[in-house]
Symmetry: C2
Subunit: 128 residues, 2 copies
């Protein structure tokens, strides 16, 4: 996530805080993965390559392992350098389920805010 996080508002800092963690859990729910490969898969959730911060990705994965949400092992033999592959644990699945609830709430809070904003700017126009 270098320079301009998302193109629409250059210079504005609006990282997705912890959202990355949830995306990773979901991707690993579907299949075992490794850091570098997960980066590409993250695009389906709206991350672009420019936004993605590699350090954050790897550190997040290690943190998740510390919390026993995922477990890792080295995969050797394939082409290129060794990969640390991650697998979701049962605790990780539970954690993901909780996050989904949180995100559902967060979504409705955002919707409410957008609705109030629309109303407010509407009134603003009318009184001009």
């Amino acid at each position: 996530m270098n320079e301009h996080p998302i193109s629409c508002c250059p210079g504005k800092n609006h990282k997705m805080e912890r959202f990355l963690e949830v995306c990773l859990l979901l991707l690993l729910y579907n299949e075992i993965g490794h850091g570098y490969g997960l980066m590409e898969q993250l695009e389906q959730f709206g991350f672009t390559k420019e936004e993605l911060n590699v350090s954050t990705l790897y550190r997040t994965l290690r943190k998740m392992e510390k919390e026993a949400l995922v477990c890792s092992c080295w995969e050797e033999g394939g082409p290129g350098p060794k990969r640390r592959t991650y697998e979701i644990t049962d605790a990780g699945k539970e954690d993901l389920a909780q996050w989904i609830n949180i995100l559902k709430m967060r979504k409705s809070m955002i919707e409410q805010l957008i609705a109030v904003y629309a109303e407010t700017t509407q009134n603003d126009k009318e009184t001009k």
Copy 2:
């Protein structure tokens, strides 16, 4: 925001990072307000009194003033202690407009994630 942030998942830390700032800007778009009074108004965006951290509220307001998104002055004469009342600036209105775009994106990212999760857990059940 003491103890358990949101009742559904006790112990889980899922603060709304910076969302507070956007809510405050929107409330101040509608009318001049002061810290303590804004707290109550925040309920309409899903914040509960237990979740709200007074320190964060006041500090956020002061930070926003430093960034010239709002300006403040002391209101005297009314009942109770003096209040520092805040008013949104033009820069604040522009900032809010940018945040709305960001939140719209964030919303669609969340929706995408929830959809993928639903699909994933569906497959999970079927293969059992």
